[in-house]
Symmetry: D2
Subunit: 390 residues, 4 copies
């Protein structure tokens, strides 16, 4: 097998492409995290991240991946035996529920077909049934990376408001922030879980939670054990974050990635993701002819703008296709997780991406389908190009 040459195309839904200027900003010597020069960088990045979250409330950051921020959201807000309501969307909502159980919480699930996501009416039913307000938190994944499904956060907020239910509203925005529209304060979200390695275009390693005033008040009486992720101790620090050594390098990168996002304009960023996502779906719809691969998401208004999951035809091996595309064309695609293992491919289109990057990746998929002998309709790339040139 000859070594693949040229740029590696990273069409994986996360981590995602890191701009060169962000990598270069992080390629620098150590500095004391109390050094005034670093503190200025920290504060600029911290303030910028609040603007990206569109919040004026609390922000706590962690030297951890997104799973760490999930753990922070649960252990800082809840007490042993508390009940939470998890809205099923795929592998990651399952994982968050499992984490909650590990920490001694009771978990109710609003079950859903992974190709459609929860019915908001079901959410309402669960809330209405909880007259005693045993449910302390409702957990939703904004953009479920495993299925390529978005949930309508304002509709869930409305369901809580209509029910007059006091539960905290916790949202995982790991694969949506910096890609999809997201408005923490305006949408009434109490705790937002985010990470560095997707729309923020950074390496994996830093995660965070935006926390509403209501949630911070609830934190005061939460009794789950915690120390590394503890908000009270963080709030007492001048940096408002981190127990232990602050990972300085990521802040040089974060300051630069926020500069890039704001130079483009957050609305333009969202529009770009939307445009590239639609191009991807047009390619997938073309491939679906002849019983070919098709969009996994069956709710057109919920198809993710940052990752498209494509269901392989019965009997066709997604991982084999991915291997061919990687070995022949140096393109990395996401695979299926958990029960979707080998049955889907996932095309990431988030972060620092443009038309030729996406079309190069789609072309590799389409060539891979030919090489693998997967039945499919031709013209996927052509359909994407026609849309993008319009």
């Amino acid at each position: 097998m000859p070594k693949p040459r040229g740029r590696h195309f990273f069409a994986n839904p996360g981590p995602t492409n890191i701009p060169d200027s962000v990598l270069r900003a992080m390629d620098r010597p150590s500095v004391d995290f109390n050094d005034p020069d670093f503190v200025a960088v920290y504060e600029a990045a911290y303030a910028g991240l609040k603007r990206v979250l569109r919040t004026g409330q609390h922000l706590f950051m962690y030297n951890a991946s997104g799973h760490g921020a999930w753990e922070a959201s649960l252990t800082n807000l809840l007490s042993p035996g508390d009940t939470i309501l998890v809205l099923e969307s795929g592998y990651f909502s399952d994982e968050w529920a499992n984490m909650a159980r590990s920490h001694g919480l009771e978990v109710q699930v609003v079950a859903a077909d992974w190709r459609r996501g929860v019915d908001i009416a079901d959410v309402r039913r669960h809330l209405a049934a909880d007259a005693a307000h045993a449910i302390k938190a409702v957990c939703a994944v904004h953009n479920e990376t495993s299925t390529g499904l978005m949930l309508p956060l304002p509709a869930i907020r409305a369901a809580l408001d209509e029910a007059g239910h006091p539960a905290l509203f916790l949202v995982d925005t790991i694969s949506s922030l910096g890609s999809l529209e997201f408005r923490m304060d305006e949408w009434g979200i109490d705790c937002v879980v985010g990470g560095s390695q997707k729309g923020l275009m950074l390496p994996t390693g830093m995660s965070f939670t935006g926390v509403s005033a209501k949630a911070f008040a609830a934190h005061a009486s939460a009794r789950l054990h915690r120390f590394y992720f503890d908000w009270t101790m963080m709030a007492e620090r001048s940096t408002k974050s981190f127990i232990g050594t602050i990972p300085v390098h990521i802040f040089y990168g974060l300051r630069e990635s926020i500069r890039l996002l704001e130079e483009e304009g957050l609305d333009n960023v969202v529009a770009r993701h939307s445009r590239l996502a639609e191009a991807t779906r047009r390619a997938a719809r073309a491939w679906a002819a002849n019983d070919g691969p098709r969009l996994f998401c069956l709710s057109p208004d919920r198809c993710s703008e940052s990752v498209t999951t494509v269901l392989m035809p019965e009997g066709c091996d997604g991982d084999s296709l991915r291997r061919t595309v990687r070995e022949r064309f140096n393109v990395s695609l996401g695979g299926g997780l958990s029960r979707l293992s080998n049955r889907v491919i996932r095309i990431g289109h988030l972060g620092d991406l443009n038309e030729p990057m996406l079309l190069g990746a789609l072309a590799a998929v389409e060539m891979g389908l030919r090489i693998e002998g997967v039945p499919h309709g031709r013209g996927g790339v052509e359909a994407a190009m026609a849309y993008l040139a319009a």
Copy 2:
């Protein structure tokens, strides 16, 4: 204040200087953590880290700072209400004890003068007094970064053995690994806590625990809540580590830093640290004349080989000296933590360091003493040079 020019001298005990080749190895595009190319890098780095720990047993790695690895060591090994014995050495042993209390553990402390560290006889007494073996773990900081003190791990191991006490032996090697001699298996350590940002010469962001077979067996019945740091789930993964996304970049750096350590030879690395530490102490002893700054550590055989804490004369402001040295000479020194705030300066001499780097930093300190009007003996740098040229 004009901008300082030239290289920033980072004479802080941590994080520490990162070699250019390590920074460059990390300055690279994203890659899927399941990509075969990355898996090969991961495995090489993972195996190398076990060689540095000198262990053939278990290793679990975390996307977290050292405090996260502390949390992993406690929550994976203990159950609510368990008792641990912490050997006082300074700010970080206090912090580990506080973390244990936050997780619902009972903490006994072997108290010690911070300038001397625990008396091993006191450790023996505590163990002997615990006939019922209520103490489940003994926690010691190998090299206490806040005081510049080393504890003799083999002597502590011997105390446990002599007492026939079954407690697990937990060691924080954050500021010693890759700098001081350390032998996990030979010294009978059950859980070693380490981090990326000191002797491994990496950015902050990855920490880990070496775990003995005995400790891994104890883990099976440990009931503290955990998920993000859970060893059982990690052990089931092919990568043997990480819950959630693997931080790929640090592994490219780790592979390179291990290459550097092994190219130099671990014994040579230890000898270099020892040599540079002795030079630093000779400078400090020269300064001590005329009631000047003096070595904080009063036990000559426990003075740290990776960081030297220098006690300021009564009435002299350590932070003012540090500010002068930073602003005039672009040299960053460590300050005093907790009760030592402002009373000491800490000179880090670990990681990717050589003679002129150290002498440049010592010269900056000695010039700072003159500028600040701190009484002191001249000739500190001269003494260090005389030693290093011998």
Copy 3:
């Protein structure tokens, strides 16, 4: 105009894409060029470049662009008033001829249609007519970057041999070395001019000449003035190159680029360029329908494997198309030089390139044709994909 995002696609015929590992190798501190560590790097790169040139004879390197190496080839080999024969191929053969005139040389030109290149029979005629052997050197551009035309070097060598003509054979391989097959010794080339910024995948800044024993002997009596480029002085140096300071950084890059070329295998490199070039031509042939843009090169066996020149339809503005493609899709194409200004676009496909990079660029061109309203046949990308998936 919003800032373009994502990777810049550099489909320009030169300079060309630089692999990240090459950039990182050059991102390093200064070192004395007499330092033994550097000398080892220098020698490895120097020996490797001779392997790439496929020569066992002389090599002289310059801190200069390709034009500097041209100047070296002329001033080291010729004397005032000497005659050279230049084989017309496009803008660069004209430029070489102009340079020769500036240095006081007489220039004969074998004229040619830029879409076809010289007729070898014409070359034979010129040589036969020179019974007195006034022609001291024959100059040919292996791959003419301005027109996308290759010349058959072995056929030119054969013409010289058949004529029994003693002229030196000088070849510009700037845009062919490391991309097209090239064999200096086997093909009997006396002086090869090459540069860093094309197939060697380095920044612009270093150029070189491979020199045959015959040419080096002729150098002894060449009387054009020179110093900065003088071979005699270089030959006396241990490094065999450079008058003045050696540009050390480029050698760290060159060592890495040669490693990459040899890891892939030079024959595989050539095959990859050939495959990507054919895909490009298939796209161009599809566009040519409906009186669309067409291949500029009219000699099928001379169409360049490293750059494809596409002739715009009459009345269509090449530079406007390039601007649209750059501003909308972040793709950089080459424009027309000299008399081809605005009449052609040039698609570079050399260096560190793969299928999705090329297809992304071709897709941008095809979308640009739609946006600009240039008449063209659809399906260019489709044709390229069909070929590449075969």
Copy 4:
């Protein structure tokens, strides 16, 4: 021999230390040199370089080292057989003279002791003796890197003015620009030769000439052959420089290095060099006790502010000292050139340098003297520290 660890100290007079931010600015993908984004970078760097030269006249830049810019200065201004007057200062003035002879020029030399440099009275005598104004150019090296000697440019200008001599005044400012005070226009210099790799803190690879209006007028009738370095062709280009491909990477670096110089302030840069040079001389004067190494420069007001040449005691081997210092302490010193080979060491103190970097290097030299058994006075570093802390 174990691998040296820690930062390499580059106390060589050139190339010199490159700031990390400059290296990172150059660590970037290729871009077309006609791309509007690059053109903006080019223009900013070009204008900034004129500010550093303190000129409002012409500037031409070359893809070449300083020797290339020398060649440009000669071939653009002179005709075959012209006479120039070279002021001897060391190896580099000799080299410039040799280059002139290679290009067919007549060279008169104002001879000088290398430890003192030319007597201005001798310059006056040469000019007065040239009543016919055969001398077309007077060539002086501002700061002679081989001897550590500065020449007083205003005094030389005054000598020309007093003699009413019309010769052009050519100055090599390679190791002075960006380190020592330099004012092209105010000092009446007609052609200034500079390079990237010293005070501009860039890699070797780009050189340039500032050209006065008077010199540019003289250029019109200069008949030496040239093409690669030709000003007429450059002046016709929009970029006002470069024949052939523009080396884009160096411009990203140059923009950053000029930002650094101007952020510090050119006057502060000069003051910093002066301060570090005086500290170096104080160390050298201390070493001179006991018949130790001493300052090579015997004219106190001409001792270079960017490099100090130290004469070894009779019978002591400079290169052996340099080897010891490099192998034991990872410090690179300059050696003797030409007739000074092995008899001197040269300590560079220019570019991105500060006190601890210099003191670390001086400490390495002083330790090296002990190790090598070279007779010397102790206390060199101490003397430097006392001066720098004042």
